[in-house]
């Protein structure tokens, strides 16, 4: 287990895309150095951001459709059925509708903050999304501080939410904003501490490396099975993630029956949809972290078999020492990426299932649960896992 301090020191100059260098080198080789390097860098950066935003929109739209279908089938309905096959175009139709809506800003609202808040919320989640690894060799940013970065960025959205609640200049929105602030502060702690357990087992904060470490046991060497404290940590993490993403039964900041729509009461149209997208992107990220750090990330027996059969290295040293794209390994990366996506959506499905089943807890019960139960339990889990790992090292060397 690498000492955490060393990790931090290593990661201090955050290497944005230490892995994408290989990709860039490949690109340079492909383009025959016809473009200056800065143009390539810029192009890569712009493309990256565009892809992340596109990805988030895609995930959000798919999740919204999925949510409505899941809700429908849980409630003895069909959900959307008319726009496209089983309503798969429904989200696009809704998006067009939201875009065409009148842009409304309440008269007494703080105009600047009101407009800034949804943008801040969305940009924070876009930034957090950059750490999501698409496949073992395909990612936007191979951050050594991956988990830390994601959690830091996704809690930035809270500032946007509080800003939105305050700027709307309505009593209900202030209620929602205050609830959000209190709830996120209460649940950030158990969330972080619960995540510390797999991080300790892995010895890394990097999402891709953590996933790689689980590739033993024919792709079933998930951290979940490597430490007895992982299962309780996973449950704690999942509960805290529900609260962090404002999902039922912890959807107090937007509690419909209590606060009309909480902090988004005054928002409409595309600005409102930014909050909506943020919610689904946050769900996706939280599930992705759970998948990577508890459920084996890319790894599954199928991924392992694909790796054995096709080879794992996407970039190999070519004849002249230049980096070359290894086309043979593409199926492995596709399988790995899909595996992670599947695990992530399994988590999202679980969140939806809970939302459409459970009633909402009360605000004092949320606080009690966060501070009195989840935080101490998470600390116990972290301590137990640390002792277990130390004992394992002492015994096995």
């Amino acid at each position: 287990m690498a000492p955490a301090l060393m990790l931090v020191q290593e990661a201090a100059p955050v290497a944005v895309g230490s892995g994408s260098n290989a990709f860039l080198e490949g690109l340079v080789a492909a383009l025959g150095e016809s473009l200056p390097l800065w143009a390539l860098w810029l192009g890569a950066a712009v493309t990256g951001v565009a892809i992340v935003i596109g990805l988030i929109s895609l995930i959000a739209m798919f999740s919204v459709w999925l949510e409505r279908k899941v809700a429908g089938h849980i409630q003895c309905r069909y959900g959307p059925m008319y726009v496209g096959w089983h309503g798969w175009l429904q989200s696009i139709a809704d998006g067009v509708k939201l875009l065409l809506k009148e842009d409304m800003i309440p008269r007494d609202a703080d105009r600047l903050l009101f407009m800034l808040a949804p943008a801040l919320v969305l940009s924070a989640i876009v930034a957090a999304m950059a750490a999501y690894p698409l496949a073992p060799g395909v990612f936007f940013a191979d951050l050594d501080l991956g988990v830390f970065f994601v959690i830091a960025m996704s809690s930035m959205t809270t500032i946007g939410v509080v800003m939105a609640g305050w700027a709307s200049n309505s009593k209900w929105t202030v209620f929602g904003a205050m609830r959000e602030a209190a709830q996120v502060v209460a649940y950030e702690i158990p969330l972080g501490v619960a995540l510390l357990v797999p991080v300790m087992v892995a010895g890394t904060l990097n999402l891709r490396e953590a996933s790689e470490l689980q590739s033993d046991w024919y792709g079933m060497g998930w951290f979940m099975f490597k430490n007895p404290f992982m299962l309780p940590a996973f449950v704690l993490y999942f509960i805290a993630a529900l609260a962090e993403t404002k999902r039922a039964p912890f959807d107090l900041p937007e509690a419909e029956s209590e606060l009309v729509a909480g902090f988004m009461t005054e928002y409409s149209g595309i600005r409102w949809s930014f909050f909506f997208m943020e919610e689904y992107a946050a769900m996706f990220l939280m599930s992705a972290l759970a998948a990577v750090f508890f459920l084996g990330g890319f790894e599954s027996p199928l991924t392992w078999a694909a790796g054995e059969f096709f080879g794992r290295e996407l970039f190999v040293a070519g004849v002249n020492g230049a980096t070359e794209l290894n086309l043979q390994a593409i199926p492995y990366h596709a399988v790995a990426g899909l595996t992670l996506l599947l695990k992530t959506f399994a988590g999202i499905f679980l969140m939806m299932w809970l939302r459409w089943t459970l009633p909402r807890v009360r605000v004092d019960q949320v606080m009690t649960m966060g501070y009195k139960y989840l935080t101490p339990l998470a600390l116990v889990c972290a301590l137990g896992a640390a002792l277990w790992e130390a004992g394992k090292q002492a015994l096995l060397g």
């Binding site: 809700a71 039964p249 509690a255 029956s257 209590e258 089943t357 009633p359």
Partner: protein, 399 residues
């Protein structure tokens, strides 16, 4: 020292301890006045509660009504007896059959007309089916207030069938005007009683779903137990009735205690019981008790419907009445057990075609009054739960 502090304090602050050397100053911001409604998802219509809140804590509440006032009583004094019937549909639009029944019984009390047995039984079937539908809405929307969306749609699944049963018998789905003065509008279509029996069977199978999914759900219990407690004395003082009264443990049901139609006969047959809250999950008279009473009453209604189906007789469905109805002079008050409590009709006739006075005692109106006393001291989330548990229909509070 204390004086210095007092001088520099803003006007709202209070001194908590002046005897100690160290003065603790409680800095309070003024309470937030907040309009809960009239456009709010949890007010069940256009009701407005002016709440004062200190953070999440409700420190004062005052229900305001009148947003849905349609002068129903005054209309009752201006139209003919039978013409008023459709207006009764509209007070408690979730239990229109019961409203029709209440008015019809009041007019019949003055008329002294004999109601055919078959009409009485059909009336009871309709009233009890409508009670089930009304309790389904009450329980489903209460789940919605607590934050559980799905049970609401499960409830509406059964209510849909109930409404289509009514559609078959009278053509309307919400405002029926089916129970008329003297009997019912027309006989049930062929196969209707069989379908009602089938509905009873299916409902009995579906009913445990509500209990398992919502009523005993741990979060639901935590949200509703010990919240909005109405003591026995308070329930009597405020003139509560129906489920609100039985939810506080007071054994009072007009169907048994002031029997009308053949409810007394059914009771003597032992076909139904009166569910009485026992305070299983918390204090007696909390929100959970009230919702428990509603859920239990649905099954009792099914039993009453079954009894009526078993004892159904052939014959006419409406008594002999003249085309132009003139009601003998006099006054009558008839209270019936509506899903929400005692619906009373007090009518005065001078022997003419039009009532001299029509007065309606809406149960929701009395039940609403208790809010002012039980809301303060609860959290905003609790306030929603309490308002939902009184199960008011604003159409009835305002009429």
């Amino acid at each position: 020292m204390a004086n210095e502090v007092t001088k520099t304090m803003p006007p709202n602050t209070r001194l908590l301890r002046t005897d100690a050397s160290e003065v603790t100053v409680d800095i309070r911001t003024p309470d937030l006045e907040i309009n809960f409604g009239p456009q709010h998802p949890a007010t069940h219509g256009v009701m407005r509660v002016l709440m004062r809140t200190d953070g999440e804590l409700v420190t004062g509440a005052q229900p305001h009504l009148g947003y849905l006032h349609r002068c129903a009583e005054k209309i009752g004094e201006n139209v003919e007896w039978l013409q008023y019937l459709p207006y009764t549909d509209r007070y408690d639009y979730l239990a229109s059959m019961n409203n029709n029944l209440g008015y019809s019984l009041a007019v019949e009390a003055l008329l002294g007309v004999e109601i055919p047995r078959r009409a009485t039984l059909i009336r009871i079937i309709c009233a009890e089916l409508n009670r089930i539908g009304s309790h389904l809405v009450a329980f489903g929307t209460y789940g919605l207030d607590i934050g559980a969306f799905t049970p609401f749609l499960y409830c509406f699944r059964e209510r849909e069938w109930m409404m289509s049963l009514f559609e078959k018998i009278c053509g309307a789905r919400l405002t029926y005007s089916y129970i008329r003065i003297g009997g019912v509008f027309n006989d049930a279509p062929p196969g209707w009683f069989e379908e009602v029996a089938r509905f009873c069977d299916v409902f009995e199978r579906k009913w445990p779903e509500y209990v398992d999914l919502l009523l005993v759900n741990q979060i639901y219990v935590k949200r509703t137990a010990n919240v909005g407690v109405i003591s026995r004395e308070m329930a009597l003082d405020f003139g509560l009735s129906g489920t609100m009264l039985r939810g506080s443990g007071i054994d009072w049901d007009l169907r048994r205690d002031m029997p009308y139609m053949c409810y007394g006969e059914i009771w003597r047959d032992g076909a139904y019981k009166i569910p009485l809250a026992k305070g299983e999950m918390g204090a007696l008279g909390d929100c959970w008790d009230r919702s428990w009473v509603r859920v239990m009453e649905m099954m009792e209604s099914i039993r009453i419907v079954r009894w009526c189906l078993d004892h159904m007789v052939d014959g006419p469905v409406i008594g002999e009445l003249p085309k132009s109805l003139k009601v003998p002079a006099g006054e009558a008050y008839v209270g019936i057990e509506n899903p929400r409590g005692e619906l009373g009709h007090y009518i005065v006739s001078d022997g003419g075609k039009v009532a001299v006075r029509t007065r309606v005692r809406g149960p929701s109106f009395s039940n609403l009054a208790v809010l002012e006393d039980i809301l303060p001291g609860s959290l905003v989330g609790d306030a929603v739960a309490i308002i939902g548990s009184t199960d008011i229909v604003v159409g009835e509070t305002d009429r």
